[in-house]
Subunit: 405 residues, 2 copies
């Protein structure tokens, strides 16, 4: 940021002309460059820039990547702004890769404890009344720690937010006539893993969506194209992608993904099963590794979310947890949605730690890592939502603080 | 949509097996195809689908295009759902193409009637307190009519919606110390057109954003990368892209784009200048040309928006304007934002006309085309927001109704 001396910056146009003339003179003297080539760096001297396109593009200067492993990829939270995730940067977690599905051939069967079993195509689904919900989707395994050089993407990049549009599952339940005794339904995906989860039928009546659109357009293939289940606020794997079958029944199916996987040891030999709700969580996305900071005013920014309702409050500590201040929440604060928080902080250059703590509309307070381990033991990596701290070093480096406190 | 006989559809898995076996038998008998090739159409038999990627992709089955001309391209409203526009489908309108700008070299000068003129880089801007606003952007020339074969994209595809993030211009005004007498500011773009507009300074204090992000990520080049002005609710050309200069003054500059362009003849030899606000408008996006409809229940869907506040109500007529019903608005209904409306309608197969009428929070009612022409004469194509009707033919064809009524 430069203060401008008004005598030299009389107007932008005049100044630009002066600057170009000076550059031209310098370069022309040196190498005899023709005058038009001297303007190569000035976009205002390039008439007829790129024309409008069939689809737009990302600037080649912007490198946004999800750093995929074999089974997942992560949203670069530290590089993003606001509350939405571009669809192509939505995290991925697959159980046997992304199937290539022709939407004209895809069918969804709804059967079991219903009066009228039904097969619906994508075209059928689009004829039903539709709903939209801006909400996050988070993988229950969304946590990493253990070293200082972890970014928000590394620590919790398995959460993303979109506007999901489709048919209320309740509408389809009424269409098929769900029988009174039905208390669970099975959702089955059309991928090679035949991903299956048992879901309490009440979630279907509450706010489940059979989604065919994300952020305005059709689902992306890696997000379940042409149709997925979307369960607002519930662990990601229950929002079964490439949905091809819903079966109503009176007990859970005890599938692989709810017995050997996606269960949590909670101590005393006990296992927590069907832990659907995503607990309230927050992460500071700036300052955060790997971007360094400068002394002075810093806007601390981050995301908070809860699967149980809205974010009521986010508190921020800039003194390693000794004192807390309330952050500003960007409006609108939506149900089961990423919420952007911000707090202005003056960093005096001393080494410190900053951290955020979310409180949701049920009164739940985001716990410390120590509290989580005390409550559950350390044998499960699912549903880990601890307060996450960043160390700010004197030289401006920002590092994850991996210690358990 | 098929009703299922439960005796044959005992379970999806069993049924799939039966279907595959039948197909296998039929094909094997015919051409001796090996069994594994018979599964080529079944995604659940293709282990190891596509792995997670650095960025996601759009399904090759989805053809979403903006049908560009030399100077503009249009959002395919009839193909989209919810309220958001994917960034690469945001409409474009350029005055001399899209410049290629290196963000490290881009500067924004703020000068004129200020105490401390300032040059800020993109990095500087990101250090200021930030704000986000989910809002539409509409070109003031967003209207076409005159023939039946026009889609929502053709008629009013020069409107799109994003979450914009950046610095409140008010914050920068305080930083530079805007002088009491300053009543206007000039915004200048860094494209070859040097696009310039004069804006009342009050808009800068109210809700103007110096935006560097759109839908979570950096602006796209065609949307002003690396930084644009964003004026919520105002005609699109005032949200100057590739912003490089803001000058404070005490009168409008009377630039080309506010004298020979973007002014409206309103009859009696009078010209309307500085008509910034986008008036309330709505369009039914389904049913709409070119997709035909089927007899029976139809969910009428569309978008409504107003540059003056929120959408209060959308009324729909399915009998050519004789009677009106109130549509359901998808929550949340946001300020100066596209709002999705829906109404269930049972079409009995008779020829008819359907249309929507928006009412905003100021009480303004979307006018008919006749009312607009009576008020302004027919010499301008700017700020045309008439009620738009679709003819439904007996055979299910849906056509634009171009007549002036």
């Amino acid at each position: 940021m430069k203060k401008v001396n008004r005598r030299t910056w009389l107007s932008g146009a005049a100044t630009a002309a002066v600057a170009i003339a000076q550059t031209a003179t310098a370069k022309a003297v040196q190498v005899g460059v023709p005058i038009d080539q001297l303007w190569a760096d000035d976009p205002t001297k390039q008439p007829g820039g790129a024309p409008p396109g069939q689809v737009g593009t990302r600037s080649p200067f912007e490198k946004l990547v999800k750093n995929p492993s074999d089974i997942s990829s992560r949203t670069p939270l530290q590089d993003l702004h606001g509350i939405l995730t571009p669809s192509d940067l939505h995290f991925e977690r697959h159980h046997n890769g992304v199937p290539a599905i022709d939407p004209a051939k895809h069918e969804l069967l709804i059967h079991g404890m219903v009066d009228k079993p039904l097969v619906v195509t994508l075209a059928d689904l689009k004829r039903f009344p539709s709903v939209s919900h801006i909400a996050f989707l988070e993988c229950s395994g969304n946590f990493r720690t253990g070293k200082e050089t972890l970014s928000p993407q590394d620590i919790c990049g398995l959460t993303s937010q979109s506007e999901w549009t489709g048919v209320s599952l309740a509408t389809l339940f009424r269409e098929v006539g769900v029988r009174p005794g039905a208390s669970w339904f099975l959702a089955e995906g059309g991928d090679a893993a035949l991903m299956t989860r048992s879901i309490p039928v009440q979630k279907g009546w509450d706010d489940a969506i059979i989604a065919y659109a994300q952020n305005g357009e059709a689902l992306r293939p890696e997000q379940g194209y042409p149709v997925r289940l979307f369960l607002p606020g519930w662990e990601g794997n229950t929002s079964v992608k490439w949905l091809r079958r819903i079966e109503l029944g009176d007990a859970p199916w005890q599938t692989r993904e709810e017995t050997s996987k996606y269960t949590e040891a909670v101590g005393d030999g006990k296992i927590r099963q069907f832990s659907f709700d995503i607990d309230a969580r927050s992460i500071i996305t700036f300052p955060a590794y790997p971007a360094p900071v400068q002394r002075g005013w810093i806007e601390i920014r981050g995301l908070a979310w809860s699967g149980r309702g809205t974010i009521e409050r986010v508190e921020i500590s800039t003194d390693a947890g000794k004192s807390w201040q309330v952050a500003t929440l960007q409006q609108p604060v939506l149900d089961k949605a990423h919420t952007r928080f911000r707090l202005l902080w003056h960093w005096n250059g001393d080494e410190t730690e900053i951290m955020s703590r979310a409180v949701d509309s049920t009164g739940y307070v985001q716990p410390t890592y120590r509290q989580l381990l005390d409550a559950r033991g350390g044998n499960s990596g699912y549903h880990m939502n601890p307060i996450t701290a960043w160390q700010i070093k004197r030289d401006g480096r920002v590092l994850h603080r991996p210690e358990i406190r």
